[in-house]
Subunit: 335 residues, 2 copies
């Protein structure tokens, strides 16, 4: 069996790739929430002076990467791989940021689980001896996601209580086998799960079973109980999805209690404009690289399991009557 | 420096991952071309009895994977990672095939360079000790790509001579460190290149500089001349892009001659319906896993460099006046 594979689906990083630098940018609304002090930058203007929200999204993604590099005195040529993806068709935010950065580009996609997928893949490339440093980054933007997946914001369509509000933001990090910072110890990449749910206005419920499957598999593969971790942070289930996940866990006797939290349920602090909470490829990135990273560095958290989840639908799959496939990837991070 | 990195951008697979099983499916038009005898299956009906071309595309992708597994007596649970992507928004063909297969899923995207990216990433996961076997697969479909990127085929819009015809097909392979089959020796992952071209009807010209950059970097990193390889097969530049690439090579004194061929220029044998030739995420997959694989196994080719290229645009980037970012990834395969 492969040397760095444990159990069925979990890979172990014995070389202990470290998260040596991080930078997070969030929009105005995210900057009004209870986690505002953990983000590196809060935008005054979600369009950052650009003509379109798509150009704004790629701009903040690029900036997050450049700042993560700058804080360690690194230049793009010090990095072997730029691993990035986003929610837009053909991951154009990632693509255009890669064009400016000039780092060999690996485009990835698993919707809002993209950041967790990237952390795992980047760590594997380091551990495998293929790179000295990699950058992993994702972005999302409320206005770009709304008009692509739902309706242009100008129509002011009424949202449902189970709708989630796409985070405007970007998170970027540098991973390296050398240097100081939290260690990435394991990644459990999930299978695609589809329980037959079809409501694109309730993606939290659709994603909960995939999160549960990845979490259960991670615990089984590592022989750990949930209490091994101080915090199990799901990416963006929102309040509805989190409720579903708690029900699934209770039914199988898995006690998660308050150590289970969800980035999407936390970031807006229950702001009524934001439905069931946040979603978006930036949500787990800014909560992990802003909040979790700071708490690990400050010694307030020691062992965290990040479980990113993605709803893998598009407009056409909804129109053609397909149910919503989902995926989750779990990444263990220790101080 | 990282142990398996040579030069600036090339990774070496000393464990020699092998391509142990492959299966290719193509549509009717591809099945009329000069490479028909190399494909494992030719469709009678490009819709394969499905209600929509999107459902047809995911159906053939899934079938290609299942057949590649079946030919070696493998089941999905024998595979650690399913690495897949396609041209459709949110890579839905890959996603839905992953749902049926039940293998941990890594979604990737670099347009028509997706297959080459997958081969390189899959080989890295094997070499790094993270998996015993991985599956890499991509698909594309003329009808799904036309209606997403251009116009629905029912409108019968006149194509330009530089337009390329998206391959209907799917290619899947099993990579493993054990077993018999061609060896994957190196991968050079490219940077995103954009020379300012804006014509979405001439993607070959847009991609040629990225292919040239990846090829030149690969040769520099490995210290090889083009004559090291019996065949340098670009993925889908088409005749126009191939002409541009030859001009770029000549200007720098790189002699490529007839050892340089292009999958997109070859597959239809100059059928006038197909403009400048083929494109699509399946194009390089079926040419590599059908033609190249067979020639390597038969001893007619010994050393092949596959250079996949992708035009990383979407409808919105064209509408917003952006030029076309492109990328190319080179993978060396030996008998």
């Amino acid at each position: 069996m492969a040397a760095n594979l444990i159990g069925r689906q979990t890979i172990a990083f014995n070389g202990l790739p470290r998260l040596v630098s991080a930078y997070t940018i969030v929009g105005r609304l995210e900057g009004q929430g209870p986690y505002r002090d953990f983000f590196h930058e809060i935008l005054d203007d979600d369009l950052v002076g650009q003509k379109t929200p798509e150009k704004a999204e790629r701009h903040i993604l690029e900036k997050a990467v450049n700042e993560a590099l700058r804080h360690k005195g690194l230049a793009p040529q010090d990095i072997q791989f730029y691993i990035s993806g986003d929610l837009l068709n053909q991951v154009i935010s990632a693509v255009f940021s890669a064009r400016s950065l000039g780092i060999p580009f690996l485009g990835i996609f698993s919707a809002c689980a993209t950041f967790a997928q990237g952390l795992g893949l980047g760590s594997a490339l380091l551990q495998g001896g293929f790179a000295d440093r990699v950058v992993v980054a994702t972005s999302s933007h409320y206005q770009t996601a709304e008009r692509q997946y739902r309706y242009p914001v100008e129509l002011n369509i009424q949202h449902r209580p189970t709708n989630q509000h796409t985070v405007t933001g970007a998170g970027a990090c540098v991973l390296s086998l050398e240097g100081e910072g939290p260690k990435i110890t394991h990644a459990t990449f999930g299978k695609v799960v589809d329980m037959g749910l079809k409501d694109p206005n309730d993606m939290g419920s659709a994603m909960a079973p995939a999160v549960f499957a990845a979490l259960e598999q991670h615990l089984q593969d590592t022989g750990r109980g949930p209490d091994y971790y101080d915090l199990i942070l799901t990416g963006d289930l929102g309040r509805q999805g989190l409720k579903m996940l708690r029900i699934l866990a209770e039914r199988t006797g898995l006690s998660l209690d308050s150590r289970l939290q969800d980035g999407g349920a936390l970031i807006y602090g229950g702001n009524p404009k934001t439905g069931a909470g946040a979603s978006g490829a930036a949500c787990s990135a800014v909560m992990a690289l802003g909040f979790v990273n700071a708490q690990l560095q400050a010694g307030k958290l020691h062992k965290v399991l990040l479980v990113g989840s993605g709803a893998l639908l598009n407009q056409l799959t909804v129109q053609q009557g397909d149910s919503i496939p989902t995926v989750a990837h779990a990444v263990a991070i220790e101080a």
